[in-house]
């Protein structure tokens, strides 16, 4: 792998940047792998990277039906935070946060992780009680967090309408200074480059059409490029997880919904943090390019179409304009949708399945991007050991039978 550095940039400048090495190979599939990861998004690529790096398992294939990082990795609003209420979720997301903090150095790839802080607004007395409870829970778990009153909110975001005259006045907020945003595509590309350098085969335009299962154990995957054998298979396919589970002969407690986001025209710097509001239901940050990145809730109906209804984004923009009246004149540039796999308790599933050797990492719903490094790290351990990593164990599929749910729905500022 070609090492990236400032010196390298100057050196390549002398040859007009014409001799950069390709970031990854485009290999022909082998007939047999130790581990196959189905899904080449951020989580799948991170899984492959940590399998090779941490566990020394390099005979690994990542099978992707489209191109790397072309699904929800390319469609999210890039927010990274770890202020979850319940211990199990907080530990998992904080594990990811710690990996984010050293990720660019680890990958030798600038993921543009910017710890500009995330603010979750409270608009009602109950919002504020929940914020106090969550911040206290976070601090007990060693996660940074503060409760801000409306004056402190106004100091951090002067352009927000914090007056008492709005329909849902801002009463305060929770504030996680270590949270922020990262460049979503760079995360996928950085992990892909790192995994490829360690010997992982990244197989693009290879769609899984079925599993070969014998005696309750998985043997490999059928693809549009032929059969590929794998001793252990990890499925990380977000919105299409239910479809793959059906191929393997079982069901998951997931429903797939469209989640939309949109960006504005680029502007000069105006917002240097991330503002989220569950109550009026919208969130906004400004990218380094200058466009406002805006998102909100899912469309309520099930859908696989990677698009949603206009009324949903209209409601989102109503909330944004309510909070930021000055944005009412900003023109929106692009709008899109992704398919998120929502779980009944708004927590992921990282689990063994009824089929031996087949593991699923799914159900991240509307908030998977922030967990990318942690998800890949614990799922790699799970695949390598054949049993759940301690941080992943509470996220077993069995919780939907035992009733031991990790109910983050609404508890942790989960945008739903």
């Amino acid at each position: 792998m070609q090492h990236y550095s400032g010196f390298g940039l100057v050196k390549h400048g002398l040859s007009h940047h014409e001799n950069w090495q390709r970031m990854w190979r485009n290999p022909v599939p082998k007939s047999q792998y130790d581990v196959i990861v189905v899904g080449g998004g951020g989580h799948g690529l991170a899984t492959a990277y940590y399998l090779a790096k941490v566990h020394g398992i390099t005979n690994v294939a990542v099978v992707e039906k489209g191109w790397l990082g072309g699904g929800n990795t390319a469609r999210n609003t890039t927010i990274v935070r770890s202020n979850y209420l319940w211990d199990e979720a907080a530990w998992l997301y904080e594990h990811a946060m710690k990996l984010w903090e050293g990720l660019s150095q680890d990958l030798n790839y600038n993921v543009m992780f910017s710890q500009r802080g995330v603010m979750n607004l409270g608009h009602t007395l109950q919002d504020m009680r929940d914020i106090h409870r969550r911040v206290n829970a976070n601090r007990l778990n060693g996660i940074d967090g503060e409760v801000l009153d409306v004056k402190q909110v106004q100091e951090i975001v002067p352009i927000m309408d914090c007056s008492p005259n709005t329909r849902y006045p801002v009463l305060g907020a929770s504030w996680q200074p270590r949270a922020g945003v990262a460049r979503h595509d760079a995360v996928a590309w950085g992990y892909a480059r790192g995994a490829d350098a360690l010997g992982v085969d990244l197989l693009q335009q290879t769609e899984v059409t079925g599993f070969r299962i014998s005696g309750g154990k998985v043997l490999g995957v059928e693809t549009n490029r032929g059969y590929i054998g794998g001793k252990t298979i990890g499925v990380v396919t977000a919105g299409n997880s239910g479809v793959l589970a059906k191929m393997a002969g079982f069901r998951l407690p997931l429903e797939s919904h469209p989640l939309q986001a949109l960006v504005s025209e680029p502007m000069k710097p105006i917002l240097d943090t991330v503002v989220m509001s569950n109550h009026v239901h919208g969130y906004v940050s400004q990218s380094d390019k200058g466009d406002l990145v805006i998102g909100a809730g899912i469309d309520g109906y099930n859908g696989y179409g990677q698009r949603g209804s206009y009324s949903t984004i209209e409601h989102t923009l109503q909330a944004i304009v309510e909070l930021f009246p000055m944005f009412s004149r900003v023109r929106m540039n692009r709008q899109w949708g992704g398919i998120v796999d929502t779980c009944p308790d708004a927590c992921p599933i990282i689990s063994a399945t009824p089929v031996g050797g087949l593991f699923f990492n799914c159900g991240w719903g509307t908030g998977g991007f922030k967990a990318t490094p942690g998800s890949g790290h614990v799922f790699a351990a799970t695949l390598a050991e054949g049993k759940a990593h301690p941080l992943a164990a509470p996220f077993s599929i069995d919780r939907f039978i035992s009733g031991k749910l990790i109910d983050e729905h609404g508890a942790a500022g989960v945008a739903h």
Binding site: G242, S256, S311, I401, S402
Partner: protein
């Protein structure tokens, strides 16, 4: 924006008047005391979530406030039929397969 025909109002109305309420035709276990944890978990949490035809409940929240059912394609989002609560769908995956097979014979 979906345009949805309410079988009670007998009119097409805009999507914003309605709320989707998830998979239809889910029967509550008849004997709760005798139902296993697996069956309860299945009833509460496990949904078909198909890529294709989906029979689902809708609620006419800003209209007649009645629940009804719809058959909708989850990829194209096209609504193929709506029908009153308690009725059975006429557009189903099985019916489509039979129709396709029938056409094949006729040709």
């Amino acid at each position: 924006m979906l345009h949805i025909y309410c079988p009670y109002c007998e009119e097409y109305r805009e999507e914003e008047e309605f709320r989707p309420k998830g998979e239809a035709h889910i029967a509550r276990p008849a004997e709760p005391e005798a139902t296993s944890d697996e069956a309860w978990g299945d009833y509460l949490f496990f949904r078909k979530n198909p890529r294709g035809l989906h029979h689902e409940q809708w609620y006419h929240a800003a209209g007649c406030r009645k629940f009804f059912n719809a058959t909708r394609d989850t990829v194209s989002y096209q609504i193929l039929e709506t029908y009153k609560a308690g009725q059975q769908p006429t557009v189903t995956a099985a019916a489509r397969a039979a129709q396709a097979a029938g056409k094949g014979v006729a040709k």
